[in-house]
Amino acid sequence: MKSSMFAIIKKDFRGITANKRLFSAILIVPLILTIFLPSIFVFLIHFAPDDPDIQKLLQMIPLSIQYDSLELTIAGMIINYIMPIFFLMIPIMTASIMAASSFVGEKEKHTLETLLYCPLSVKQIFRSKVIASFLLSMMVSLISFFSMIIILETEIFFLMGSLLIPSISWIIILLLVSPAIALIAVTLIVRGSAKAQSVEESQQGAIFLIIPVVLLIIGQFTGLLLLSSWILLILGVFCAILAWILLKKSMGRFTYEMLLK
């Protein structure tokens, strides 16, 4: 990678992290989703396990995923079945905020034109922006994952006296599905940003990406659809291929004239 592209990536990263308001917004929502929300579940099952609805739910759970105790089984379900879905949402949110501010934001503030006068092709600028947004969303995903694991495991250990090992799905989620979805989100936002005139306009596009994830969350909560490792793997491969195609198609589309409109 050219050092000039690295300079853009570094600058974009700094642009987000230096803007405390924006950066805390990027971090707070994922942390609420991945720490606050499951903690409530864990406390709930510890202090109110006799609820008849929970008993009914337990009867439906396949034996293979049941742990020694009732509490641990439910906690395991939360960690391994409910939480992964949030890790599909986090990269979309982060990537859209970052991509919108780094591409449309530059257009809005008239700094994109200056960048275009530099000895980089539109493709290289586009690639640097995609990499920057992608890396940030991966960073936020990983921070969220590790803080979630540390906090939930501590809670579970102290409340239920044992540790839960996260399932294999997490590897697929963190290394395949989540990066692929982040890439799709970034590419779509950057693609749309050539036409969008404001950051808000381009962020609105990201809402359409959230819809399928919200449906998955509903499916997961109501038990209509339980994502197994295999389904996740297929979903991940599909998203990765889609991301690659979108990226390839978008790269060739941009011209200076189009961006300066």
Binding site: A18, T111, P119, Y256
Partner: protein, 304 residues
Amino acid sequence: MQAVELQNLSKIYPGGKQAVKQITLSLNQGEVFGFLGPNGAGKTTTVKLLNGMLIPSEGNCRVFNIDPVYEPEKVHAISGVVTEHAQMYDNLTGLENLIFYASIFGISSSESEKDANSLLKQLNLEEAKNRKLSSYSTGMRQRLSLARALIHHPRVLFLDEPTSGLDPESAQNVNRMIQLLAKNEGITVFLCTHQLRYAQEICTRYGLIEEGKLLVSGTLEELRAKILARITLCIRATKVPDMLSFKKIGDQQYEIDICSENEIPGIVRQIIESNGDIYAVSAKKPTLEDIYFALTSNAKEDLK
């Protein structure tokens, strides 16, 4: 090799507006070329065409023999551009901005810091260099843009209204700097402006453009010869002979249009011979402004 060449260059925007109409001209290395015309004449479009930001509808252009349509990055590597819409980052300081742009041009941070500091000093921005750009005034931003355009030691400078928004002192400072860059470092300058007085101070050659069309180009002397050859002779004398058809413009102030400086001694002699006392004689050659107005009014008459 010509530094900048435009051949039959035209640009029609998708909406159908023809912004540039068949312009042909060339710039020698080290020349300060004034591209003059009112707002909306097509100056900025020409700069964008020369940098590959726009694709010509007809004709072609080259910067040091590189075609910006095919190799825009190479053109960008040797040119510095200042336009109204090429802004910098508000969340970075003046110095950080310059170092960032230098790094995109592949300059190491130690070298760029040295160059940036010296440019900031030359442009009187030294005190503000560690302040965020959001606190800069329009004039300071404009000067920093010039520093940004110079940070990678370009061979050509495309300056679109570089002195707009500057106070007279800063404008003069910037003009002096542009002149020195051309003279000492051989940088070719393509200067777009509508401030004709400033242009006359620093440019070595001019091109006058209106509604996308290049009306005329050449040095000031060439333009005078082509457009407005007259010289206005102003004389302060007690009296002038009637036969000289002087125009009285004030108390003991007379004015006459002549074709050449060779006529002056004869006129002065005639006044003295008719017992007039002369206090002052000055010959005013047409300024760029005079030529420009003469030219545009001619063009309008032609249209009628």
